[in-house]
């Protein structure tokens, strides 16, 4: 599946805005709808109290994570599930590969999972000759299109009904004027066959309760329930930060996550999975494998500030409200997690250098922090990564020189006045294209047009 990298953010977002204006319209409309629903859903609960409580539980979990990981493993094994530990993408995929080989898996179905995107599960399986099918309707659409998801919750929000009509006409033979109901019915029929014939079902995990070894999955379509019920083997990929201490904690997290994501009181379908089918059950997988994935999470956990990002429940509320995300959707960010949360997770998961310039893809307006159900201080962490980038000399040399020059001038009033007057002269009259630092700036933005009068002059003259 083609995907750019975070380093391509500026060029890719410019390209989307220039060449694909429909994407901006579709993403903005969809995220506004999600956010309106969230807002409404939060008036029905005491959202501040719920969020503070949830922040407390996740912070407790993360500061006792070793204990809870061991407890979760013990419970899962007692329930008859297999537990695998993976430090890296390769180790996670190797665990999957071993299951595939042992069971002679020819076809697999998958419920929506961002971690499986992070790991590149589909490419891995296809390279081994395994037919793999995304079963969430949105994921199915983008799999057919050969695109990555553009939103944590709504992977195909950047695509219109018309896009889907054309796609389904070509791939499933539906009419060019088919209704959304008819399109969904065609997908249902095509996928139903895959559910009942697949050897392997895959999922992520919204939560993993240490006390009971319960894997919790939230969805609206029923495809995750089917993917984890019909095939004879189930493999779940779970980030180590997704644990919850007790079953009693789960009820609030299921509700808060859905209220933050789509405004629903809870997802239409929630699966609470303890392990494989038991002797007194008529169906369900014979084997359940839980792959506990690190892949950079312990690196974030070790950071004295950024560890707070690991509280994330992947609701997408910060994407929905972000004025920057709304312009482009998720593809521009160049990896699995987009929007504000993606920009603060990336330096932990991928390394800071590999993540630039994502921490800069923000106006620091703070709206994301206001909606986060687990109170992650996202703007503070964006700034933290920017600071680290400067400290580690990862920002462009011209920018460093420019900022140093600015610091010199800004702390010397006389110099500032002279410099300001000069800046309003020739170079900026060219729209900022002549100065090295500003050239980079305006390359992906509109031209800089300086005010004819300095602020200090306006102040002296009396601002109306």
């Amino acid at each position: 599946m083609s995907r750019s990298r975070p380093s391509g953010y500026s060029a890719e977002s410019s390209r989307i805005l220039r060449d694909d204006p429909g994407m901006r319209a579709a993403v903005t409309a969809a995220t506004r709808t999600f956010d309106d629903h969230r807002r409404d859903a939060w008036t029905r609960i005491d959202a501040d109290a719920w969020r503070s409580w949830a922040e407390g539980v996740k912070s407790h979990l993360l500061t006792h994570l070793d204990t809870y990981l061991e407890q979760a493993e013990e419970r899962l094994v007692a329930n008859g599930a297999h537990v695998h530990w993976a430090e890296t993408t390769d180790e996670a995929l190797a665990a999957l590969g071993a299951v595939v080989d042992r069971h002679g898996v020819a076809s697999a179905v998958k419920g929506k999972s961002m971690l499986s995107e992070e790991l590149g599960v589909n490419d891995f399986l296809e390279a081994r000759g395994v037919h793999v099918r995304e079963t969430d309707l949105g994921e199915y659409i983008i799999q057919l299109l050969g695109e990555p998801p553009s939103h944590i919750v709504g992977p195909a929000i950047h695509r219109s009904v018309e896009d889907c009509r054309v796609l389904f006409h070509e791939r499933l033979g539906t009419a060019m004027d088919a209704s959304p109901d008819a399109l969904a019915a065609a997908a249902r029929e095509a996928l139903r066959e895959e559910f009942v014939t697949a050897d392997l079902g895959m999922s992520g995990g919204n939560f993993l309760v240490a006390e009971t070894g319960t894997l919790a999955l939230i969805e609206n379509e029923g495809n995750i329930r089917l993917s984890t019920s019909a095939p004879r083997v189930h493999v779940a990929f779970v980030g180590i930060e997704k644990l919850l201490p007790r079953l009693d904690d789960l009820s609030a997290f299921l509700q808060l996550t859905t209220r933050a994501a789509t405004g629903q009181p809870i997802g239409n379908f929630v699966s609470l999975i303890q392990g494989p089918r038991r002797a007194d059950e008529v169906d369900g997988p014979e084997e359940v494998h839980v792959v506990l994935v690190d892949n950079g999470r312990t690196r974030l956990l070790a950071d004295d500030e950024a560890w707070e990002a690991l509280r994330c429940v992947r609701c997408g509320a910060c994407l929905n409200i972000c004025p920057v995300y709304r312009q482009t959707g998720g593809h521009a960010y160049g990896w699995a997690y987009s929007g504000p949360i993606g920009s603060i997770l990336a330096p932990g998961f991928l390394g800071l250098e590999e993540s630039l310039p994502l921490p800069y893809a923000s106006t620091l307006c703070g709206a994301c922090a206001d909606v986060c159900p687990v109170r992650i201080p996202i703007p503070d962490l964006l700034l933290k990564w920017r600071r680290d980038a400067v400290d580690e000399k990862l920002t462009p040399a011209a920018e460093r020189l420019g900022m140093a020059a600015y610091a010199t001038a800004a702390t010397r009033p006389g110099l500032f006045a002279v410099g300001g007057a000069a800046m309003r002269g020739t170079p900026l009259a060219l729209g900022g294209r002549a100065l090295p630092v500003l050239k980079d700036w305006v390359g992906e933005r509109g031209p800089l047009v300086p005010s004819p009068k300095s602020f200090r002059r306006l102040w002296k003259e009396g601002i109306e």
Binding site: A29, A86, G222, R225, G267, N268, F269, Q274, L292
Partner: protein, 199 residues
């Protein structure tokens, strides 16, 4: 060093740097307005708002009579393992893969989320594959909060529990809501019995 030791080792190192946070205690469900006093009223409001249907029957006999009429329109039915004999429809049994109607017995229902609590021991495919799903739930087993429901399940968890809170739906095609994408597009919660007297 294996992956498990590597991960746990790094977690321990990181955790040692942090101030340990206490668990904030049990969730209290803080709301500006309390849930309806009668859990069935709350359940019905949310389940219907999500597109589900709720029917109430004073007795099993009344529930069975309704089901016989309802099921007559279907060629056959897949019936869950724990559905009592008295609530089984008199229609040809079909496997869930081909049955147009599935009938399940819930372990309970939740007012706060409008959810039916379904146990794997009743049969997962019957809960998911037929396009129409009838779920019986006992009036006494409709509880106020999800926390209460999980507390009841806690000591008797099957391999999987499904919380079903309305029909299958998706807005993935151009943000337009469609029903019955993978799971049942029509779901009827049939509440049987009266409070305190059992079914």
């Amino acid at each position: 060093m294996n992956a498990r030791d590597g991960i746990l080792g790094r977690v321990r190192e990181a955790v040692a740097r942090r101030e340990r946070r206490e668990h904030p205690g049990s969730f209290q469900g803080w709301r500006p307005e309390p849930l309806p006093e009668d859990a069935l009223v709350g359940f019905t409001q949310l389940f219907e708002a999500a597109g589900g249907e709720v029917l109430r029957f004073e007795s099993e006999a009344a529930g069975r009579e309704w089901l016989h009429g309802f099921a007559a329109a279907f060629a056959g039915v897949a019936v869950g393992e724990t559905v009592p004999a008295a609530l089984r429809p008199d229609r040809p049994a079909l496997p869930p893969e081909t049955a147009p109607l599935g009938v399940s017995m819930a372990r309970g229902a939740v007012a706060e989320t409008g959810s039916l609590v379904l146990d794997a021991r009743d049969g997962r495919r019957t809960q998911l594959l037929p396009p129409t799903h009838v779920v019986f739930v006992r009036r006494d087993e409709v509880v106020a909060t999800l926390q209460e429901a999980l507390a009841i399940l806690r000591d008797d968890l099957p391999s999987a529990v499904g919380l079903h809170s309305g029909p299958s739906k998706s807005a993935d095609i151009g943000q337009i809501l469609v029903k019955g994408v993978h799971g049942p597009g029509r779901v009827v919660a049939a509440v049987v019995g009266t409070v305190g007297t059992g079914p």
